[in-house]
Symmetry: C2
């Protein structure tokens, strides 16, 4: 993507204003309406820019959401990676991916995310939408398991908890454990949440 | 002990000042020195009150710590309760206790705790000390298992994560699940962290 956007936009030589306006509007609209209901058109309208700018700057609704929630990943690519390989090792692959993603940004970004979640209802909604609708709902749909919503919530609890323990509270030895250790120790627990017997049958 | 404090209780008819001074001093000293190293004498000295006041108002160092960290539990009583019963159901009992404790205070207190943890290094240290030294180190010592420190950290990750998912991010159906459901779904995972095969042998 160009760093010196051409003439088109008089007062926005490099698109910074447009991007910022879209991110601000996205945080509001996603938090109000949820990920599924929010439309690119509504967000662009709220930002006062052409909906085509969403595709131009963020690749689409999902990219805009990810940028708005400041989570440094590409959900579609992650799902593909997580599903490529034995079904019984999905938990391990998720843990590896989780650790490598957040380690790359030094963990400070996770702490910042938790800080905004703890102090701001909009951030809470964004994170919930992200965990549920962007990541895990799609995964459990592919896995075709019982109690999909409960499984999604359980996975969310372990991932958010690991992030807190590793990057915010920094409980050793988990804070500095390598990806192999995290995958070996937490992977099987996540796997049970995804595909195992939850010990409860009639929960919705 | 204070060298400046004149007549001990004169200006504190109901102990509020003494308690507040002790809580403030406790947060500082515990965060600086950790739970084990901090002494009742040092905290009382820093607060400018007689060490006997710690016993009088909080029952001792542990009670003062619990009050300072604003976690609504009695660690000694919890450990006793958790250890009373089959070893293979410790995870379930912990989950029941965790949910009933925080549900009682409406969850808002957990959110407040996370808010302070996310924004304040002292609160981080307090929470870490609490999870490690006050609760789980004692438990794994009694259980006599390998990799005790790693197990403590893993348990911490799941409990903090459940608290975040249930009380802060409020991911349904986990946010409103009853204690039976939480115990059945998360209990076995916690049990693996406590007494199961972690898939890694030479980690310290």
């Amino acid at each position: 993507m160009s760093t010196t956007e051409p003439k088109r936009r008089g007062r926005r030589p490099n698109g910074t204003d447009t991007k910022d306006a879209l991110l601000t509007a996205a945080r509001e609209v996603f938090a109000e309406q949820g990920y599924e209901a929010a439309t690119v058109r509504a967000i662009a309208g709220s930002a006062g820019v052409d909906p085509a700018m969403v595709k131009h700057w963020f690749g689409g609704k999902e990219g805009l959401f990810t940028a708005a929630v400041q989570i440094p990943i590409n959900p579609a690519e992650i799902l593909k990676q997580v599903l490529a390989g034995p079904r019984e090792q999905i938990g391990e692959r998720i843990m590896r991916r989780f650790v490598s993603t957040w380690d790359t940004v030094g963990g400070g970004q996770f702490a910042a995310l938790m800080r905004s979640v703890a102090s701001n209802e909009q951030a809470v909604t964004m994170l919930r939408e992200f965990v549920q609708n962007v990541l895990f709902n799609r995964l459990v749909k592919v896995l075709d398991v019982d109690n999909p919503e409960l499984r999604v919530a359980l996975c969310g609890s372990q991932l958010v908890g690991l992030g807190m323990a590793r990057y915010v509270v920094r409980i050793e030895p988990l804070a500095s454990a390598d990806a192999d250790t995290v995958a070996a120790t937490i992977g099987p627990n996540l796997q049970r949440y995804l595909t195992g017997d939850l010990g409860t049958t009639n929960f919705t």
